[in-house]
């Protein structure tokens, strides 16, 4: 289980645009780099990131080798109703991880 960090405000007003910053520990091995034995290391990257707000997808990303190790993604979303945001990362070698964060939305 990789360590994942998601920063977002725990509470917001309805209609407010909130910033979400998601970070996960992952080597993002490119598949171009030789290892200590001189053989090229196999590619091992995160291919896809997505964010669901109460089940509805609000943001997703397709990642390639040019994304740095420990991928960081910062994006925005509109706080609509109280609920759960689900963040999922999927990658090579069956890598899959999901993090959940709760948000409380008050009427503006």
């Amino acid at each position: 289980m990789a360590r994942a960090l998601v920063h977002m405000p725990p509470a917001a007003k309805a209609g407010e645009v909130i910033e979400i910053r998601a970070l996960i520990s992952h080597p993002m091995e490119t598949g171009y780099r030789p290892g200590p034995d001189g053989k090229v290391l196999a590619r091992d990257i995160i291919r896809r990131f997505s964010c669901r707000y109460n089940g509805e997808q609000v943001f997703s990303a397709e990642l390639h080798q040019a994304i740095s190790a420990n991928p960081y993604i910062g994006f925005f979303t509109v706080a609509t109703v109280s609920g759960t945001l689900e963040f999922s990362w999927e990658g090579d070698n069956g890598f899959a991880q999901t993090e959940k964060m709760a948000i409380t939305v008050s009427a503006s």
Binding site: V17, I18, R21, T30, Y32, R33, P34, G35, P36, D37, G38, V40, Y53, E56, V58, F59, S60, A61, E62, L63, H64, Q65, A66, I67, S68, A69, P71, Y72, I73, G74, F75, F76, T77, V78, T80
Partner: protein, 156 residues
């Protein structure tokens, strides 16, 4: 001591020392400007992209190509009728031209994404945004990279 044995010792001490030996056996790993144009054409489906609306925020002089912070924002009201649907980032001199493709929608509220990327060498980067009306807007930036990422796998 022969040269080969010295190299073996170096490799045992520090894995990076072996890079010089393996350079010759690696395939030429570097994309070209034509390949970037092809990758962008694949993203846009062949449609033309105009410069404008997109703001590609990146340092002009990059000390370390292993983790370069980038922020791409698009001038858009992000309403249901007029919003950004996707943002793609491309490069022309990394081993692979694609960097990332972000999918947004009216729920994003603000058309801005940030991430950290790898850059193999000084080169031109391009961010292309697809709007909900089907038009494509882009911005190109030229950057200078002093310490390259994936240096071990690069051709001499």
């Amino acid at each position: 001591m022969t040269d080969i044995r010295r190299r073996k010792l170096l490799a045992a001490g520090a894995g990076a020392g072996l890079a010089a030996v393996t350079l010759s056996v690696l395939p030429s790993a570097r994309a070209t400007p034509q390949e970037m144009a092809a990758a962008i054409a694949k993203f846009t489906g062949g449609a033309a992209h105009r410069p404008g609306k997109v703001n590609f925020d990146i340092a002009q002089l990059i000390d370390n190509g292993n983790a370069v912070p980038v922020t791409i924002s698009v001038d858009s009201p992000m309403t249901a009728a007029d919003h950004v649907t996707a943002i793609g980032i491309f490069n022309e001199r990394n081993p692979s031209t694609d960097i990332a493709i972000f999918t947004l929608g009216p729920r994003a509220g603000k058309a801005q994404v940030s991430t950290r990327i790898r850059l193999a060498t000084s080169q031109r980067l391009m961010a292309v945004a697809r709007l909900s009306d089907g038009s494509y807007w882009s911005q190109a930036v030229d950057v200078i990279v002093t310490l390259a990422a994936c240096i071990e796998g690069e051709a001499p």
